[in-house]
Amino acid sequence: MAVTFDDVRHIAALARLDVSEERLPTLVGELNAILAHMEELQRVDVSGVPADLAAGMTPMPLRADDGRQYPLARPRETFAPAMGDGFFLVPRLATHEDVDE
């Protein structure tokens, strides 16, 4: 299964990455070279093998679903790019640029 230029444009959009047209040929070539090595897996018989085996071989302990707040040593204003009235500020969605405040 080889990726095309359009595939890479599509997955770059999904991943919120701005990939330039100049860089596309290199990325397509590299991804296809890597994926070619993955083809080896298609020859492995995995019939009856579960796909949800966790790496941790001991059962994960469950904690209370209490939505705890972890104390921060510094307020969010010290590390957030933009904040106002306790909220993170972001640019307006392009689809809402014409909507009044």
């Binding site: 991943a15 701005d18 990325l27 790496a55 904690r63």
Partner: protein
């Protein structure tokens, strides 16, 4: 050697500040011992940038549990160490802040992704350092730099404050000049942490007590798949000598087979990028780190991430997004998870057959020259002997076993889940040879 972001001239100031800031004045097992911390483990008083422009200068508002435990044990957090960006790499060449160099030969890489921590211990800057493991990022640089490197069992050490790369694989690891230093350090950071739901509630023994276990009580497996025809002949020869010496000392050496190990690289490089593509979605310029503004929200996301991430991280995010995308999930991600289950079962079966630990080379070659490996997949092959322990969740350690053409090489001991005590017993024996 660019191992540490903080220049040597500033090191004393940091030491003094940190000494004053320690929560306990009691003498602990690491009292006044300077330790180095990989730059993806959160510290309150130094930046945590993950070797990335997107987090350049970011100072965490909370501290990793590992760091808290070290400080409570009396350690002094001396410096943060250079790394491949977001721990994606095997050479520490993929840092936004320049490559780290191998102190044994500065024309060569120290390995990666925890190359700065390995170099710091090898150069004598600190006796103990900490890194993170996803596919071999502690053991491989330990082997390249001639120090000891431990990858604990999945769940053995809290990951609270470790910036996530691939959450089903990540684990905090330890570097030491000696096995004894590594055993001491691991005991301090290991154990259940309520802040990390994946940390296991399993008792932490005194790993240093393993030093007294006679090697004659150990059955050591030699997995034939880890000694392929293509293995560097000098590394094979040295490994054979090591096994002969252990046999002479009374250990039982047995050839075993882990038949699916040869599939580990493709499995790893599907699962790890898939998880990374999800974990790194949080770096979008909204809550912390770099923000590049654009025309609207989506443009800001794309501009921030494209300027903030380097080439290898971008490549892996794209690969991970692809293998998780509709139409390809079953062929890649689901298949990789199933083969991962087969790899895990291989280990379980061998250990259930009476083998205490496995012995393999840590890497297929010694440290390579800076810039010598440009093909991404060729770089990925550095993890060929190490990433299986991450996929299966086992404990593993790399111990120096000599040199090839003046360059250090490592021998790897792999142990069952939470079998660190047995792992250290074999490691002490290896170190004494």
């Amino acid at each position: 050697m660019n191992a540490n972001f903080e220049r040597a001239a500033g090191l004393n100031i940091i030491l003094a500040e940190d000494r004053d800031a320690r929560p306990s004045v009691d003498e602990g097992p690491l009292y006044d011992v300077p330790v180095a911390i990989k730059d993806n483990i959160a510290t309150l008083r130094m930046p945590t940038s993950c070797g990335s422009r997107i987090l350049e200068g970011y100072v965490s508002p909370y501290e990793a549990t590992v760091v808290s435990r070290l400080r409570a044990a009396g350690a002094v957090i001396a410096c943060k160490t250079n790394m491949d960006e977001f721990a994606m790499g095997s050479s520490t060449e993929h840092s936004a802040f320049g490559p780290a160099l191998n102190p044994v030969d500065r024309t060569r890489v120290p390995g990666g992704s925890s190359g700065g921590s390995a170099a710091a211990v090898a150069a004598g800057v600190v006796p103990i350092a900490f890194g993170s493991e996803t596919g071999g990022s502690v053991r491989q640089p330990a082997a390249f730099c001639g120090v000891v490197g431990v990858k604990p069992t999945y769940g053995r050490v809290s990951r609270f404050g470790l910036v996530a790369f691939a959450s089903s694989l990540d684990q905090v690891g330890v570097f030491g000049k000696t096995v004894d230093d590594a055993a001491l350090a691991l005991r301090i950071i290991a154990g259940r942490d309520p802040m990390d739901a994946t940390s296991a509630d399993v008792p932490v023994p005194d790993y240093r007590a393993a030093a007294t276990r006679p090697v004659s009580t150990l059955t050591i497996g030699r997995p034939i798949e880890y000694f392929p025809d293509a293995l560097d002949p000098a590394i094979r020869e040295r490994c054979d000598e090591v096994l002969d010496r252990l046999r002479e000392q009374g250990a039982t050496i047995r050839d075993v087979s882990l038949p699916h190990s040869g599939l580990a690289i493709p499995v790893y490089y599907i699962i790890a990028p898939a998880e990374a593509s999800s974990n790194l979605a949080r770096f979008d310029g909204v809550r912390y780190g770099l923000r590049i503004t654009g025309e609207g929200l989506t443009a800001m996301y794309e501009a921030t991430r494209s300027k903030g991430f380097g080439t290898e991280v971008t490549r892996r995010i794209l690969l991970g997004t692809y293998v998780l995308s509709a139409g390809y999930y079953d062929a890649y991600y689901r298949k990789a998870q199933q083969v991962r289950a087969l790899i895990t079962e291989d280990f379980r079966r061998v250990f259930a057959s009476g083998v205490d630990v496995l012995f393999t080379p840590t890497t297929p070659t010694p440290a390579f020259k800076l810039g010598a490996v440009s093909d991404p997949y060729e770089m990925y092959l550095n993890d060929i002997f190490t990433c299986t322990a991450n996929l299966a969740g086992n404990a593993a350690i790399s111990v120096p076993i000599g040199t090839v053409n003046g360059l250090p090489i490592g021998g790897q001991i792999i142990a069952p889940h939470f079998g660190e005590q047995t792992m250290f017993a074999a490691a002490y024996a290896l170190e004494r040879l």
